[in-house]
């Protein structure tokens, strides 16, 4: 960590001093926060020995669904804003079953600076663990710049269900700049490596090769220990009302649905339909 970053991460008390330091100008108002959540199996059921809330992430236990422990991430303050460094570290230990959601959409705002914000989500699932990450959409608003990463580490016997939805701008508003890098590894080998970049100054991001004028885009990813039988790629929707493809990755034990739609509601319909096909194809959800 640089001296400037250390100054800022030390908290509010350091802000007046940081302001006086020339090196602190890079992130004048950045918030640094890392929330952590760990699930373990106690021999009988999944328990949550670590729920560490931090900054905007308030972690709240929900009522389990069957044998699946559930946690909701509540937004305790407006974030990410420009200059913020946010991280969410979620670990589902061996044999656990865990679902993590968010209570509301995550809204990337410009804040007091045009500095980029970062939001790093680390998802780790152990042997025979099942981890579902099903947050509400991320909304990129005018003037914001957000670099988001998903780093997913699985074992050969982990299950993962991941959904991400992105909305580019609120109603009648151009979006900010949103970059998302998603890397998924199983047993140390890459399964999926994907980078999307939307919003100016990304060239032609709303053109006919990328989003085609749609403002909502999302993915649903299933990774299972065994190959998932899908007789043929599933094609849903149409160019006007949004469309979606569900198909296997090169690693046949993973299915990915990719969707674009004019509205978040249409996007959710497409991804929910894809999820129903996933459920038909596998008994492991």
């Amino acid at each position: 960590m640089t001296a400037a970053a250390a100054q800022v991460s030390a908290g509010e008390s350091s802000t007046p001093r940081a302001k006086d330091l020339p090196t602190a100008r890079a992130h004048p108002a950045g918030l640094h926060a890392t929330a952590r959540l760990t699930a373990v199996h106690n021999g009988r059921t999944t328990t949550l020995p670590l729920l560490h809330s931090d900054g905007p992430f308030h972690l709240r236990r929900l009522r389990p669904r069957g044998d699946r422990a559930r946690v909701c991430v509540l937004g305790a303050m407006s974030a990410p804003l420009g200059g913020d460094r946010l991280a969410l570290d979620i670990t589902a230990g061996a044999r656990t079953r865990l679902e993590v959601t968010t209570a509301a959409a995550t809204i990337a705002l410009r804040g007091s600076t045009t500095d980029p914000a970062t939001y790093d989500v680390r998802l780790t699932a152990g042997e025979d663990a099942s981890l579902h990450w099903l947050p509400r959409p991320l909304i990129s608003t005018r003037g914001s710049t957000l670099h988001q990463t998903y780093r997913v580490e699985l074992t050969a016997t982990s299950h993962l269900l991941l959904r991400e939805e992105q909305l580019l701008g609120r109603t009648a508003e151009p979006p900010g700049h949103l970059s998302t890098r998603l890397t998924v590894r199983r047993d140390g080998r890459p399964v999926l490596d994907q980078h999307t970049v939307y919003g100016a100054p990304a060239p032609a991001w709303d053109g006919p090769a990328v989003l085609g004028g749609h403002r909502a885009t999302g993915q649903l990813l299933l990774v299972a220990p065994e190959p998932v039988p899908l007789p043929a790629p599933v094609l849903l929707g149409d160019p006007e009302r949004g469309h979606c493809v569900l198909a296997p990755l090169a690693d046949g034990a993973a299915l990915l649905a990719t969707a674009v739609a004019p509205t978040p509601a249409r996007l959710r319909v497409l991804l929910d339909t894809a999820l129903a096909h996933v459920r038909d194809a596998t008994s492991s959800l």
Binding site: R181, W205, P208, V210, L235, P239, V245, L249, T258
Partner: protein, 224 residues
């Protein structure tokens, strides 16, 4: 480097089967997304900075002499749509046939032996560039240019566009092509030290979605 070898490799008449592919243009035209020169330009610019950049990075890395089989796996993880993986391997196989006669060499033989069904086309392109004495930047240029040249040529046939207009689109994209090739070559230089994750992995949702839709269509002019 031989400038003539680069012209030969990037020439649309190089017998590598590229003429049968529209790079997603036929699907974009069929879905009503592209119907004029402006649409062609937006499509090409978007493809260049997404799939084009990713392909250019892989080609440049292969041209540095990095393990082509590891790069082929990296191409798989960067290509979520099965139809586009099939197309990339089919194009790779066709390029390999032409390349082994044009610039015979042990590295092409090695890749052909380990990927008899075809490696991803950008990997074969990079190894071919190397066999032809070209640099990683040259390979990236060839891949970047190809990512827009194919769709532009196809658009002329699909939309009866004025070929002069389509060519002027490519001329306007020259600066973008140069920038993409430079970025790709720069990333490729770091692969030996930092691994394949430093290579671009930029993707475009519509290319993946319409690529799969196109493969399922019973009647089509272009294979992709």
């Amino acid at each position: 480097m031989s400038r003539t070898a680069l012209l030969l490799l990037a020439d649309g008449r190089f017998p590598a089967g590229g003429h049968a592919h529209s790079g997603g243009m036929e699907a974009a035209v069929a879905s009503g997304c592209v119907h004029d020169t402006a649409g062609l330009e937006a499509f090409c610019r978007g493809r260049l900075h997404t799939a084009g950049l990713t392909a250019a990075g892989l080609a440049a890395a292969a041209a540095t002499g990095h393990d082509p089989l590891a790069l082929d796996e990296a191409a798989d993880t960067r290509t979520p749509a099965p139809a586009l993986r099939r197309i990339a391997r089919s194009l790779g196989r066709q390029l390999m046939r032409a390349a082994r006669v044009t610039w015979p060499g042990a590295e092409l033989d090695h890749l052909a032996r380990h990927r008899p069904q075809g490696a991803h086309q950008p990997i074969v392109l990079g190894v071919t560039a190397r066999a032809a004495g070209l640099s990683p930047l040259d390979a990236a240029h060839a891949a970047a240019y190809e990512s827009v040249g194919g769709p532009a040529t196809a658009a002329v046939r699909l939309l009866s566009l004025d070929p002069f207009e389509a060519t002027s689109v490519l001329a306007r994209l020259a600066g973008d092509c140069d920038a993409v090739a430079a970025a790709a070559a720069e990333a490729a230089e770091r692969v030996a030290a930092e691994g394949v994750t430093v290579l671009p992995a930029v993707s475009a949702p519509l290319l993946d979605i319409t690529g799969e839709q196109h493969a399922a269509r019973p009647v089509r002019l272009f294979a992709s």
